[in-house]
Symmetry: D2
Subunit: 264 residues, 4 copies
């Protein structure tokens, strides 16, 4: 009974900041660091890598669409080869900065619209997987649990981490309930905690309509861009530990979970 | 006895923010809005124009070096014609957005490294003046009091506003004391207020070495990028009003001050 | 019997060039100048405005998606208000530079993926129309003949120019035949000329399947990004004049054509 | 008697091109590929790496100031740590793309204003050296022969290649004659060839004033951005071979030259 906790980090650029809160890093085991395309200039990257290293948090690349103005949250219709090349350049940029700090990258998690696009589009998923596999097949790929992205990662032989959410409601088909629908976001900290505990201990989640949906969660996404985020993150972590769930690094989680999967 | 108060505004870009605080707008009469080169995407520009209009604050363009990563604070060795064209494009971008909101631009104040470069470099000062004069000779140009930029503006027949600082110490030659030297920044609110009052009422400032230096101040720069900035700004404004100084828009200030200057 | 001929121009950025060929300007009556988002830095803009002015070519804004890497040819899912603000900023940037050269903008033609998106998407079309109308309702809007963009322009009371193509084949429903299909591009100069003559003189075009399709053409797009483009453009212009078609500026065309339309 | 020949390559971005001529690659042994900051998007990078690999040309990183509009030719006053981080991110981006093509980077040569700045400024030179050494101390650093950059590289224990020019005149102090002075550029191909032959065979160059100046040349820069560049490059290569100079890869040159230097 173990789980990784991840958060996005280093999402500022130049004189602008997005309210990175180093306190949040105290609660996670993995940090996804922006690589300069949707945010994250080289100085922000280096500072973020140092902060993660000091707290023993694993560092991963967080590539997004090259759309600084839209913060990578707007769909940009790149071709598969354009996606592969952009993701390669982004991973490489962070890799070099991490290397200068003696830090090895552990994982890759696409950002925003690229994450969502790859979750449902095989060609985009494969384009990202191509980049990860070509750069370093030991990198763990984080994708939405049950999505095309994790499928593509598995198919290419990558280690894959299925990501789930404590603060989002699921539909009966296992997809996330769209944000604009009522009940899509779980604001109550205890409800979110119970949802994560059920995912980890029982391998399922209660969908919005009451259906019980199987879900495989290797890592939980902790959002950092709302007020009180670091406090909520700390409580979730404590709540998990209190019921006996071990909060562990992705490398531990994925190898053991993947092993279990293979036997399943 | 009157003075304009100005602040920089709208200095965010994309998903990143620089902590714009609309409260600060309550204390000023002029807002200098970033135009997309060092910060300020079109959506931030529009939101900022609307906020300024709602509070009756004059809107001006705040062009900077095209260096988003460096926030326009790093010297970029552009040629005079490159500066002119960049400043034109930046003024035009804000002009169009302001026009859509029924707002007329009142002034132009260069940002950061461009402001400092033009303060001491006639060719850069003239390049900026060329852009302002070519676009609209009715725009008021804000520059460091006594600098090459205001000289160039006067020479070209522009209306010019001399900018002074309440929270910075001056040297005996009228320049700002460099930030890295001791005593360069005035942290005490009352000391800053007294410096501004003396500038406005007596036309001079006490330099770091005790020398009495003549200074002509049409507008005071209120910094917004430090904690407590809006509170400090409100106190300065109140303090000025309390001693009978009128806080008035730039258009009023400059025409009357300029008239007085001509007769001097 | 008259027609405007337009081309895109000024689509270089920084040390890179896209092979702008000033010779092409000799054949057109309208130049659509890139405004810095998909291409066109301020120096390229100024140079392009000067070249157009010297040849008596009307200058228009050519706004595109803010995607320099993709040259504005990739769909970027901006919201309507983001489109409006971006188009405003782009028009304004060119407006300011043109004003410094004593040139008044005559028209706006969206670029690439934005042009195509607005051709079929009412919300995007209206977002562009909002920007044009808010900035200057006297600007002529160029859109694909019969598209949602020209519809939105008409609905808002703008003067609208319907654009048609000599070197592209049409389908029976009046849309352009997709580029990846056989016969989509007309390579033979004489065939292209005959298609344009028929559009202007008879108001229709022969579709790929032989159907006769009504089309209203105010302006013909001359592509400049292929080898021999300026020679082809010159021949088209000469061919039109030889059969008695007058090549005239957009302002002349649109007012007279629109008048004719109203009576139709 | 051997020399490396290098050229800049892959300096296009998005829809814009800088006239990359693959023919030029036939004459060189090393290609310096732009890394996205002053030019070179990920797709251009990948295409350039493939072209170099196919012709057996060594691939190196060509980092520049992050100034796309100025093509990295304008001085940007970055701090040493900003330079280090930017150079790291640029090397990393190209490294990742090269790795996907099975290509190992052989060298790093700074571009334009960064190259010139580092040639005369120890802090900037050390900032670049820090990046190279932290990323991979086996990378060869190319700098202007006799400059601060090569000094800093030697001091840090890097393998360093001294770069010299066939088409530029030297001053008596070993610096390049400034471009705006008469006689700065050597237009005659044979004169350029003789200058390079003398550098390689005799270890000196005739300065503009006739002085004989010692110069150590490991690699010659072949400019690609002028008409006829690839023809000139081919002739230089043939001319060198004709007199018995071996045109050899940088790795061969530097190790043997460095050995010779140590014994000198």
């Amino acid at each position: 009974m173990q789980i990784d906790l991840n958060c996005d980090y280093g999402e500022g650029f130049g004189g602008s900041h997005n309210g990175d809160d180093v306190t949040l890093l105290h609660s996670v085991t993995s940090a996804n660091i922006a690589c300069g395309a949707h945010s994250g200039d080289p100085d922000v990257m280096r500072r973020s890598v140092i902060q993660a290293r000091e707290l023993g948090v694993s560092v991963g690349a967080h590539p997004g669409f090259p759309d600084l103005q839209g913060f990578g949250r707007r769909m940009l219709l790149m071709s598969p080869s354009e996606i592969t090349n952009s993701v390669l350049a982004q991973i490489g940029a962070l890799y070099a900065i991490a290397r200068a700090e003696g830090v090895t990258l552990s994982h890759v998690k696409p950002h925003g619209a690229l994450y969502n696009y790859a979750a449902v589009t095989p060609a985009a998923a494969e384009a990202i997987v191509d980049a990860v596999a070509a750069f370093d097949p030991d990198l763990i790929l984080i994708g939405l649990a049950g999505s095309r992205l994790v499928d593509a990662g598995h198919a290419a032989g990558l280690r894959v981490a299925h990501e789930a959410f404590g603060d989002r409601t699921y539909e009966a088909d296992g997809t996330l309930r769209a944000r604009h629908l009522p009940g899509a976001v779980i604001h109550d900290n205890n409800t979110a905690l119970q949802q994560v505990i059920r995912m980890v201990q029982e391998g399922h989640v209660m969908a919005y309509d009451g259906t019980r949906v199987s879900i495989m969660a290797d890592t939980i996404c902790l959002h950092g861009d709302t007020p009180g985020a670091s406090t909520r993150a700390a409580r979730l972590r404590q709540g998990l530990i209190a019921v006996g769930v071990r909060v562990a690094p992705l490398t531990t989680i994925v190898s053991s979970n993947n092993r279990w999967r293979r036997s399943a």
